[in-house]
Amino acid sequence: LSSLRFRLALTYLYLVGVLGLVGAWGIYHFIVLGRAIDRILINNYRSVIAAENMKEALERQDSAALFHLAGHDAQARPQDAENRQRFLREYAFAAGNITERGEPAIIAAIDREFQAYSREMRAFLQAGSGGSPAEQRRFYFSRLAPRFLALKDRCDALLHLNQQAMLRANDRAIRLADRATWSTVAVAILATVLGLAHALRFSTAIAAPLKAMAETAQRIGQGDLEQQIEVRSRDEIGVLAAEFNRMADRLRKLREREREEFIAIASHELRTPVTSLQMAIHLLDEGAAGPLSSKQQELVRGAREDCDRLQRLTQDLLDLSRLEAGTTQFRRRPEAPADLVEEALQAVGATARAKGLSIVTDVPRDLPAVLADAEQIVRVLTNLVNNAVRHTDVGTITLSGKAEVNRVVFAVADTGTGIPREYLGRIFERFVQVPGARSHGAGLGLAIARQIVEAHGGTIGVESEKWKGSTFRFTLPLAEADGPLPEEG
């Protein structure tokens, strides 16, 4: 349900919905406006027409009365009858279309007065044969004409009432149309803004992870295979990100395999001749190829020493390559710091004592356990102590351990020749050796130590003062916050 396709469809659906809403809003107002116009036509316009027609019928009846006065009875009677019928038809319509306040009273008055007028008219037309022209004129002007005028006024009132209503309804319709225009514009603007905001949000939601992915891809392309894309959604982009991470992972494994393969080949190519040399020299030395003269013995011993050195150098180089390539397998377990220091001293303590140096250890047994590959950390300690012994003629080598928050700090301090300031920053780089220092190595020991310590999640550093001595410190993370010490042995 959270697929991109679904969300895209939802967005379109949303836009279609908004469009529909705007349309419906407009149509609703068209209908309302149309009804208002209809109402004007039905309620008032037709009443206005009826009132006009009633007035005209009355006028025609009045002129029929005048025809009668003029002695044209033959014309007067049918004209009266015809317009009476016409008036009644129009009246019936007006009476059936009462919509305004005050209209019923006017209609009732028209009904009443028309009946009276009709009675008078009938009497006037029938009496015409009997009465004298003067009497008839008097009757017309005193009885008939005032009723005609009054009735015409009533019709005018009806007309006026409906006209006024029409004007009011028209005003209302204009206001309605205005309101409809503005509200439709407002709804359309709101829909546009919402639609834009939604589109912007949606496109950002798609573009942002794609952009992040592109940046990560670029970094991976530059060789940083440790990069991972954060998978934040379960849609197609999330799937793509996950696949991308899997690809980077496979590339990483491939590169690791390649590095491992390279080191394996390098190991073979370097160690095979060393093996051959070492075997030959050792065999010569032990007399397997016949007895040696003392001069020959001397040469072979020299060769043997250098061959051993070559072997150690090869070992260190390959170890450093594996450490740098990250293919070294560490077996990290909780270890007591005191045990690690003790084991290191077993290997190198004798050398120091032979040189007349005293060794002081200050590693409390109750220090919390560290997470360490014992063999590798002992190698680091051994290397540091060996360096200290090599560069110290008189004095003390101190090994100490101290617990800090989440870690233990190990320190190897000597009272030796010290390291010149300009070399302090580079001492952990490979092949860096302090000039004049009496060394037996190739300058790989500290580089290896740094790799091992950093692979354990620790740091290594040095402080030194020329002719006063050096102190190397490295840290190891605690096995657990309150972890128990591992059992002895």
Binding site: I263, A264, H268, L270, T272, T275, M279, A280, H282, L283
Partner: protein, 135 residues
Amino acid sequence: MMSTTKILIVDDEPHVRRNMQLALETAEYTVVTAGDGEEGESRFREGPRPDLVIVDERMPGIDGLALIRRIRSLDPRVPILLATAYGATGLISDALREGASGFLAKPFTPETLRDIVRQVLAAHSGAGTPPGGSG
């Protein structure tokens, strides 16, 4: 007089091969050598069966692991040592699966070679004891 213990060495490097032969012959072993996997297999088939085979891991053609597999198909019991310059965990587990009895880490000295050979032969000659590895 040479002992009757016969060791077959298969290594494509002539100097290493010769030095190993010399180191083992001074310890009174009878040594047969082969310069590649193909030759190693035929040397294994001819004459009396070797009591121990030392195979170099990296050889052109049939490599160490493939040769171990072939020898194992001919003889499920003969101890086989794999000489390798690079003890990656993957290689070690592969070699053990193919039937290697132990490892010989390059570079090694004549003393180390003799010690390991002695240990493997001793472990293997013990009645019913499985071949022990070292190196």
